[in-house]
């Protein structure tokens, strides 16, 4: 499978959008070489705002820019673009439904070496809890491009979660990205795996192996974590022996919460795979962390067989 980087895809898309729409402005807090907003800065220095290492001011400043009829993209690592300026997002951006797009880069465990302080296990939960916020978690570079473009078309606050490391291409090139739509990437009739972000490729690998063992598996890429139409989740789970959720995020407030809430009262068994209410830690590779927290195809297969 072809591997691509979501950050690079994002950075290039911002430049394209900058060419198409002069109302787009970009802010960063001294991480532009990681978030890849450096590409936008090179081409549009007047519309790029280096805000220093001051994330709270960056969010509110972006709110101000949006009040002059601009689309403001605010960038940092997910842990710093959601947790540190939570109040600025809530008060200044979300209550007023301002057109600010918040990018959570190097999300989840993907900043493997930097440890718990830099790894976001709760960013989706924080953003989902804020009224008026839309939350997108694209699974690969292709979907990242489409999600960022969809965020520009949508007038209001959006959070987009982006992985630091290369991920395999999964999302169909010719598929339209629609905010709120869960995507069936593979159909099956025994169980459904709902997966988010980097975990979608693990879910697909698990489905391959389950198929060999006679378990027909549907894989759903849930890339919109809010808003979610409960019925769309119910339809994809009904008639199955059970469902599994898989996310590189705390089991509190993310995909597990979305699916278990949607399926309440339906009597369908649900298993959840995610980070069990704990922080991350340093490791020498991303894969070592994913394995440590059970975020692998192997673990999905095992849990699926137990359903």
């Amino acid at each position: 499978m072809k591997m691509q980087n979501q950050r690079t895809a994002y950075g290039k898309t911002l430049v394209e959008l900058g060419r198409e729409n002069e109302r787009i402005v970009v802010l960063d807090a001294d991480l532009s070489k990681s978030t890849m907003t450096c590409l936008f800065e090179q081409e549009f220095p007047d519309r790029y705002f280096e805000m220093g290492i001051a994330e709270a001011d960056m969010i509110s400043f972006a709110a101000g820019l949006s009040l002059t009829d601009r689309i403001a993209f605010v960038n940092s690592f997910a842990v710093f673009s959601t947790g540190r300026p939570y109040d600025q997002i809530r008060q200044g951006v979300a209550i007023g439904k301002l057109n600010v797009k918040i990018i959570g880069s190097s999300a989840g465990l993907s900043d493997f070496g930097d440890g718990a302080t830099h790894q976001s296990v709760e960013d989706v939960a924080i953003m989902r809890a804020i009224p008026n916020m839309t939350v997108l978690v694209p699974c690969d570079a292709i979907e990242t491009v489409k999600a960022v473009r969809a965020a520009v078309e949508y007038n209001g606050p959006v959070y987009i979660r982006i992985c630091r490391n290369d991920v395999p291409d999964i999302f169909p090139e010719d598929e339209e990205f629609v905010i709120g739509k869960p995507y069936v990437l593979r159909d099956g009739s025994d169980i459904t795996i709902f997966a988010m972000g980097r975990m979608v490729c693990e879910a697909l690998a698990a489905a391959d192996r389950l198929g060999e063992q006679g378990i027909s598996t549907r894989v759903v890429n849930v890339s919109t974590l809010k808003p979610v139409d409960d019925n769309s989740i119910i339809k994809l789970a009904e008639g199955m022996k059970g469902v599994i959720t898989v996310e590189e995020h705390s089991i509190i407030g993310g995909l597990a919460s979305v699916v278990t809430y949607a399926l309440r009262g339906k009597g369908i068994p649900v298993e959840t795979i995610g980070i069990n209410d704990e922080f991350g830690q340093s490791a020498n590779t991303y894969d070592a962390l994913l394995k440590h927290y059970g975020l692998t195809a192997d673990n999905i297969v095992e849990r699926a067989k137990a359903l």
Binding site: F61, L65, D87, G96, K97
Partner: protein, 274 residues
């Protein structure tokens, strides 16, 4: 307007504040009355604005970073005719367009959602930067509190405004020397104030925030400063104009008795035009 007319407008704002809150209900009198003279000078002398077209792109903007003093802005907006006067008397009632803190989507003339202290100055900086990109001549005015200066974000904004040379931004510090729980000097001293702003690269002027002539002359002269943001440190009295509330921290967010309400209305009516 003449200085005397502007002084009357300030008293009209204060009287409106008193009537909006009414007896027996808590309201942020102190920090609203301390800034009333500046607010009168802005809406009735300095700012280009059109109450019939609140979203006019070329308008000057006023943002209350100290959002709890919103009633001073509501009073001025009501007097200007941004909304029907009757809305003033529904302050903070369920469904009212006048929330406890400013809400841009509910109140015509309100520019941003503020109230969580420390954020309004950053928002004002972003608006000023956006107006510069538009090559607009519109200016941004931002009211900041002296207790609010304890918020670290104020100083992040101060650096950003200076770095981006936001000379279309004017902050006005309502230096009334009292925070909710007592004198700033005793509770959490944010002084020295002038030296801080100068060190952050701002053009800094100190005035008597209740001397209308000085307010007007400073607002007029300060817009000639180029290449850096400006701040007016307005020395004020918390609760100014309402004798029992003056310099009284209890009226940061206090309630008047019926007797106090009548006293305040009497004093302000004599001095105002209503």
């Amino acid at each position: 307007m003449t200085i005397q007319q502007l002084e009357r407008k300030a008293q009209e704002i204060r009287l409106t504040i008193v009537k909006m809150v009414g007896p027996g209900k808590a309201g942020h009198f102190g920090g609203s009355c301390s800034i009333a003279d500046v607010v009168a000078a802005l809406y009735f002398h300095k700012m280009r604005h059109d109450p019939k077209n609140p979203k006019w792109p070329e308008r000057d903007r006023l943002i209350f970073s100290k959002g709890h003093a919103a009633i001073a802005q509501y009073a001025a907006l009501g007097i200007c005719g941004y909304f029907p006067e009757k809305e003033l008397w529904n302050l903070k009632e369920l469904g009212s367009i006048l929330q406890g803190h400013p809400d841009m989507n509910k109140t015509p003339g309100i520019e941003a959602n503020t109230g969580s202290l420390g954020q309004g100055l950053s928002i004002s900086c972003g608006i000023a930067a956006g107006l510069k990109l538009d090559k607009s001549s519109a200016r941004v005015y931002c009211i900041v509190g002296d207790g609010e200066l304890a918020e670290g974000q104020i100083w992040e904004a101060a650096m950003a405004a200076s770095y981006y040379k936001l000379d279309n931004l004017l902050a006005i510090l309502d230096h009334n020397k009292l925070q909710a729980t007592g004198p700033i000097a005793d509770r959490f001293d944010t002084r020295p104030i002038r030296e801080k702003w100068e060190a952050f690269g701002w053009h800094t002027v100190e005035i008597d925030g209740h001397n209308m002539k000085e307010i007007v002359e400073t607002l007029d002269s300060i817009e000639k400063v180029k290449g850096k943001p400006s701040i007016i440190i307005a020395h004020t009295v918390k609760g100014k104009g309402i004798p029992f509330a003056e310099n009284n921290a209890a009226f940061h967010n206090g309630a008047m008795t019926q007797e106090q309400f009548e006293t305040a209305c009497g004093i302000l009516s004599e001095q105002g035009v209503m």
